[in-house]
């Protein structure tokens, strides 16, 4: 057997034999996809509502029924005073409370309400009140099963690309960005550093095999693994989560391959710097994982960050990959519209590859 393939085979065995890590490598994308696809949502749902009322008049009754009939609100209690409602909210038994204002001025005019909301989470509080207000301000004669628009009367809203507002649309590209980086950079660097730490690297270096080939051979199985995971994610996104692959599949794969190459160069760079597995692990976790999850627009919008952090975010490769994937996959734009991202990614790849090859040591320190 040619030494190159013998190397690849050896490396593949290392990966396959470590069952637990394997399980997690493949379990992680699946679990993450399912969680983000189904469980993690900001939908307004099951908002626990308390009605504060001393006397039940017709108008209150009607409004309350309408509220209860909607899928957004669940009536949990009726209490006598606003103080009691506040106590329920404080002890996490309710989220929102409706207090009817004193008797309306004349027949026919709509009921005045005071909405008391748990404002701890400003975003959710904003959405809950918007929904509650919309339901309450509906004409009384209106049929109660009609879905109210939380946007008011004079506005038509079109939610582009993601009309059902599924969070999966947002997260699938982000998960791809994170996992590909994790597998290629972290796993590759750890596996190279492990050889350094265990002393086998010395033997490999002294052997007639060119050092660069050792590294390339190490990268191959991870490349295959990363590609497998990419395919798995895309299939799950399409058929389980129902995320449309709106753009060209070819370009999605090409851009992903550029990104995988970039991640592998980064992994090589880390392995050049670190001399223990622990250090490689911490470097990957601190320098790669944390900033990627936090700063690349995966979970938190970049525009809301202070300027300094936006600059930091600007040098993170996953940011551009995630952006490119969102556009290609979800928005379905042509390659022309992601040219900027692709160029930046390619530039970064070339730079990182050059630096990591330059710093690769043929000898020990």
């Amino acid at each position: 057997m040619n030494p190159f393939w013998s190397f690849v085979g050896k490396e593949a065995r290392h990966i396959l034999r470590d069952r637990r890590t394997m399980l997690i490598l493949f379990g992680m994308p699946i679990v993450l996809m399912l969680l983000f696809g189904f469980a993690i949502t900001n939908d307004v749902r099951n908002v626990r509502t308390v009605i504060v009322t001393s006397q039940q008049d017709h108008l209150t009754q009607q409004a309350v029924e309408r509220l209860a009939a909607s899928e957004y609100f669940t009536l949990t209690a009726t209490v006598g005073t606003p103080q009691e409602a506040e106590r329920l909210i404080r002890s996490q038994q309710a989220d929102l409370s409706l207090i009817p204002a004193p008797s309306p001025k004349g027949e026919g005019s709509s009921r005045q309400w005071q909405i008391m909301v748990d404002g701890s989470d400003p975003n959710m509080a904003q959405q809950w009140t918007a929904y509650a207000q919309a339901i309450l301000s509906q004409p009384i004669s209106g049929k109660s099963h009609i879905h109210p628009s939380p946007f008011g009367e004079g506005v038509g809203v079109r939610l582009l690309y993601n009309p059902q507002m599924k969070s999966a649309y947002n997260f699938v590209p982000a998960i791809m960005g994170m996992l590909l980086m994790l597998i290629c950079a972290m796993m590759t660097s750890i596996s190279i550093v492990r050889e350094k730490e265990k002393g086998t690297m010395e033997v490999l270096l002294v052997s007639p095999v060119r050092p660069l080939m050792i590294i390339v051979a190490k990268a191959v199985p991870y490349l295959v693994l990363a590609f497998g995971i990419l395919v798995a994610i895309l299939l799950m996104a399409r058929f389980v989560l129902g995320v449309p692959l709106a753009g060209s599949l070819l370009w999605i794969v090409v851009v992903s391959l550029i990104y995988i190459l970039l991640a592998l160069s980064l992994g090589l760079l880390i392995s050049n710097i670190a001399d223990s597995q622990l250090m490689a692990l911490l470097l990957s976790a601190m320098v790669l994982l944390m900033p990627i999850v936090m700063l690349s627009g995966m979970l938190f919008p970049i525009e809301s960050m202070p300027q300094v952090l936006q600059w930091v975010s600007a040098v993170l490769p996953p940011r551009y990959y995630i952006e490119a994937m969102r556009k290609l996959m979800i928005m379905g734009v042509g390659i022309g519209d992601v040219l900027r991202e692709v160029c930046i990614l390619s530039g970064m790849t070339v730079l990182l590859l050059a630096v990591s090859l330059k710093t690769f040591k043929n000898r020990l320190e």
């Binding site: 057997m1 040619n2 030494p3 013998s6 190397f7 050896k10 065995r13 290392h14 034999r17 470590d18 265990k198 002393g199 086998t200 010395e202 033997v203 490999l204 270096l205 002294v206 052997s207 007639p208 095999v209 060119r210 043929n362 000898r363 020990l364």
Partner: protein
């Protein structure tokens, strides 16, 4: 171009530490050249420079006619190197490891099989077992096979036989001799005197300098105080004849699945005795020791240690024993003093007592100036002595030593044994395993384990008489060669 290796005026330092100072020598083609010297003498640095893994600060070296600094690729194509801590791929099987290293060096297992037959045949039956599941000595044998499967023109071996039993070491050196016949130049470092004698010439390295290069016998006699310290004459005081037993074991068995690592052993150790527990790699020594120290439960059989049952009272046993393991067992990131205080505290000694005894101990070991040094910065021999002293710091009834002197030079080993005698003189029972047969002679009584069973037991003199052999080495070789299983 008669010399395979020419080293001239090589110096290398790491920060302030000078590893090598102006080292020069040359090795002829087809020569077996020994590198000897205490731990930290600079042997490993020298190997790395010759293998092109390190650049020297000053001086030049040439291997097989190529310069180590400029012609890296040429050299790497021609040399074989087995570093001191040669490590196999634990999650690959024996066969996969061997096949991988064979391809790495551009050959196949079939082609190289002849040159490794003597050693590889011993582990071949475990070809499909993962390397991580082998015992220490077996791993070393596999490592040797991997290093020798190809035939380079120059072979560098950095203490290749540490932890390997005497029989296998002999086989290994027989293999080297056959390589030499094919014109392969061999440079090997070793702490074993019998191996030193099998070299044609040796260089004695100490504190980074070449102290002398000559035939082994010349060097060994010139630096007699280092290599051949006068044997310790056990005083009468260390030969207690008390009837009281410290360890008593009946029909002890430890099985892993169907495999009986320890297969029905029965023996007893008297109080204050130095008991040598010998056996080839994989004979079951470490497993037996783990049962005695309460790390493992026996599968069947009974035993007491210091009067406590090994099945039920293992926590009480732990209170009355000391233990020093094969793998170095102090905390490297604590200082000498902190390690002593920690282990004193663990055994429930009072702070005043710890303080007083620490000073005495430091004086005794002449460590006063290094009391606050991190253990990691001490030379190996010092660490071993310290580890032993710490293991008997709380005056245990029995101390268990698992290959305490592996890889240590003869002078330090001698000092180590003086400590053992001193402890035995205080009434501490010593239970020790070793692969050095000269150390076996120092024991009051020894047992030799073969295939999980004890095949011989008695004083060294009795054993030599029974088997009609001149020394322990021959007795051991005779018994160990009868082994039918080579396993762990």
């Amino acid at each position: 171009m008669n010399d395979a290796i020419v080293v001239s005026h090589i110096s290398k330092s790491y920060g302030k530490v000078e590893a090598l100072r102006d080292v020069s020598f040359s090795v002829g083609r087809g020569e077996v050249f020994g590198l000897i010297g205490p731990d930290g003498a600079g042997k490993t640095s020298l190997f790395r420079i010759l293998c092109t893994l390190l650049l020297p600060d000053e001086g030049t070296a040439a291997v097989d006619g190529f310069d180590t600094m400029r012609q890296m690729r040429e050299i790497r194509r021609r040399v074989g190197y087995m570093p001191g801590r040669f490590s196999l791929y634990q999650d690959l099987t024996v066969r996969e490891n061997l096949a991988f290293f064979a391809t790495l060096f551009g050959t196949t297992v079939e082609e190289g099989y002849d040159s490794i037959r003597a050693i590889y045949s011993q582990i071949e039956r475990f070809a499909d077992r993962k390397a991580g599941a082998l015992s220490g000595g077996m791993k070393q044998k596999l490592a040797l096979s991997c290093a020798l499967v190809h035939q380079p023109s120059v072979l560098f071996l950095d203490e290749p036989t540490t932890g390997v039993d005497p029989v296998s070491r002999k086989e290994f050196w027989d293999m080297l001799e056959s390589l030499k016949e094919r014109g392969i130049t061999i440079v090997a470092a070793t702490p074993y005197l019998d191996e030193v004698r099998r070299c044609e010439r040796v260089a004695f390295l100490s504190e980074g300098k070449v102290q002398g290069i000559d035939a082994p016998d010349v060097i060994l006699s010139r630096f007699k105080d280092v290599f051949n310290p006068p044997a310790i004459v056990p005083s009468a005081a260390t030969q207690p004849q008390q009837a009281e037993l410290a360890i008593e074991v009946h029909h002890l068995v430890k099985a892993f699945g169907t495999f009986h690592a320890v297969d029905d052993i029965t023996f007893s150790v008297r109080k204050g005795e130095i008991f040598g527990f010998l056996g080839a790699n994989g004979a079951g020594k470490t497993t037996a020791m783990h049962m005695l120290t309460g790390l493992n439960q026996p599968t069947s059989g009974t035993g007491t240690v210091a009067g406590f049952d090994i099945r039920t009272q293992h926590e009480q046993i732990k209170r009355h024993i000391g233990y020093m393991s094969q793998r170095f067992s102090l905390y490297e990131d604590l200082s000498v003093r902190e390690n002593i205080r920690l282990f004193g505290g663990i055994y429930g000694m009072k702070p005043v007592e710890i303080k007083a005894k620490t000073e005495t101990l430091l004086q005794q070991l002449r460590f006063e100036d290094h009391a606050d040094d991190l253990v990691a910065s001490l030379p190996l021999g010092w660490k071993q002595k310290l580890a032993f002293s710490v293991s008997i710091f709380h005056d245990p009834a029995i101390v268990f030593l698992d290959e305490p002197t592996g890889g240590v030079d003869p002078a330090t080993r001698r000092q180590f044994w003086e400590l053992i005698y001193e402890a035995a003189g205080r009434g501490i029972t010593v239970f020790v395993t070793t692969h050095y047969m000269d150390e076996a002679e120092y024991c009051d009584r020894i047992s030799i384990m073969v295939d999980g069973k004890i095949s011989a037991m008695g004083t060294p003199d009795e054993l030599k008489r029974t088997y009609g052999k001149p020394d322990m080495d021959s007795v051991f070789t005779y018994l160990a060669r009868q082994a039918t299983r080579s396993s762990d």
